[in-house]
C-alpha cells in the first residue's frame, strides 16, 4: 500500500511540475510589455465600479451544505458497498435505511424550497 501511495505522490509532483514548467517556459518566451491600461481589470471596457469581490448570495451556501452532507454519507457507504457480497440481507437493509434517512433529508430540503435557485 505504501508503494502505491508513493507512486501517487510522485505522480502528484510530476502532474504539478509539468504545467508549471510549461507556464514558466512560456513566461520566458513571451513578450513583457505591461502598461496600466493593459493590466486594468476587464469589465467590458467600462470603468470598474466597487470592489470585485462582491457578496454572493446565501443560496450558494445552501447548495454547498447539502452537498457536504450527501458527500460525507455517500463516501462512508463505500466500505459497505465493498463488503456487500458478504453481508446478510438485514445488513443490506441497514445500509438502505441509512440512505432512506438521507432521502428524507433531501425531500425536506426540497419541500422547504432550499433547492430553488431563485
Amino acid at each position: 500500500m505504501l508503494t502505491a501511495w508513493l507512486y501517487v505522490g510522485i505522480f502528484l509532483v510530476v502532474a504539478v511540475l509539468l504545467p508549471a514548467v510549461a507556464i514558466a517556459l512560456a513566461g520566458i518566451l513571451a513578450p513583457k510589455k505591461s502598461n496600466p491600461i493593459k493590466t486594468s481589470v476587464y469589465e467590458c471596457g467600462i470603468e470598474v465600479v466597487g470592489p470585485a469581490r462582491v457578496q454572493i448570495k446565501a443560496q450558494y451556501y445552501i447548495y454547498a451544505m447539502v452537498f457536504l452532507v450527501f458527500d460525507v454519507e455517500m463516501v462512508l457507504l463505500f466500505p459497505w458497498a465493498v463488503a456487500f457480497k458478504q453481508l446478510p440481507l438485514f445488513a443490506v437493509f441497514e445500509g438502505i435505511l441509512f440512505l432512506l434517512i438521507l432521502l428524507g433529508g433531501l425531500f425536506y430540503a426540497w419541500r422547504k424550497g432550499a433547492l430553488e435557485w431563485f
Partner: protein, 405 residues
Amino acid sequence: MTNWLEDPIRWIAEWLYSVLVGWGILPSVADVILMITGAAILSTLALLWVLFLIWFERKLIGRIQDRFGPNRVGPWGIFQSVADMIKIFTKEYITPQGADKVLYNLAPVLAVASVLLIWAVLPFTRSIMGVNLNVGVVYIVAVGGGGVLAILMAGYASNNKYAFLGASRAVAQLISYEVPMVISLLVPVLLAGSMGLNDIVQAQSVPYLVMAPVAALVFFITSMAETGRAPFDLVEAESELVAGYNTEYSGLKFGMFFVGEFLHSFTAALLFAVLFLGGWRGPFVDQVPLLGLVYLFIKTMVIYFLIILVRASVPRFRIDQMMDLNWKVLTPLSILSFLVTAVIAKVLEGQFLFQVLGLLAGNVILLVLFMEWGERRNKRNRRPMVSQPRPLATPASDETSMAQS
C-alpha cells in the same frame, strides 16, 4: 521475465530495472526512478493527446454545423492545434491589477494537475496501469475536488466581478453534480465488491452498462456536467459572464484551463469505459493483453464521440433548470437506482444469469416509472407555453378610455 510480445511495456520496465540495478543503484532507488519515468511519460502523453482531441472536436463540431473546421495546417488541418500551441507559447501574460499573485498563478496548474492525477489509477490493459489503489473510485472523487478548488482560486484571485461570479456559479454546479455522480459510482463498486478500478474491470464479465443502465446514464450526464461542457457550460455563458472564472487569464495560463477542460472530458469518457463498458475486456484479450488497449481506446472514443454529439446538439441550460435537473431528477433517480440494485443483487445472489436479467428489468422499470412520475409532476407544474392572445383593441373600449382621459 515477461515475453516482450505479450506485454512490451512491462518488458521494457523490467529491462530498465535490471539495467539500473546493474549500474549499482539500490533496488529501492531504481523503483523510484522507474516510477518517476512512468509518471512523466504517462502525463506527457496525456497532455500531448489533448492536441489531437482539440483538433478532433473542432473538426467534428465543424462537420455537424456544416462547416469545414480546421483545414489549413497539414492534411485535414491536423496540425492546427500544434500551430495554436506554438502561438500560445509566445503570448504575453497579463496579470490584472489587485490580483492575488500566488493563487492566481497556482490555479491553472492545479486545474491541469487535478485532471492528470486521475490517470494515475486508470487501468489501460490487464497489467499496464499506474497503480491499482484499493480505494480507486473514491480517489477519483477526491481528485475532482482539486478542480473545484482551482476554479475557486482563479475566481477569487482574478479581482474581477465576472470571474468571481463565474467561479461561484461553477463551483455550485460542480459540487451539486458530484452528489449523483458519487451515488452512481457506488453501483459498480457494489456489483464488483471492490473499489480498485482494475478489479472492477476484471469483475465485468457482463458490462455494467447492462446490469446498471440507470447508474450509467446518471454517470454519463453528471460527468459531462463535471467537465463543464455545453449543455452545462454555464460557467462560460458568454452572454452573462464574459468567460467565467478564466476571464482575466491570458497566454498559456488560459491555455492550461483549456487543456484541462479537454483532457477532463476525455478522461470522463475513459472512466465511463472503465466503469461501465468493461474497460480493456474483449475477445482474445487473455492471449494478447495488449489488445486490451485497443478495446479501451475504441470504447472511449465512442463515448467521447457521444459527448461531442451532445455538445453539438443540445442547447445550453438555464442555471435554475440545471440545478433542478440535478437535485430534483438525477439525485433521487440515482438513490432509487442504487436501492433497486442493492435489493435485487442481494435477493438474486448466486444465480448469475437471473441476477443480470433481474437488474436489467428492475432498472428499466425504475426508469419508466420515474419518467412517468416526472411527466405527471411537470404537467401539474407547467406554466402555459404560450400566453393567451390578448383581445384586440375594439373601438368601444377605445372610446371609453378616451372618455376617461
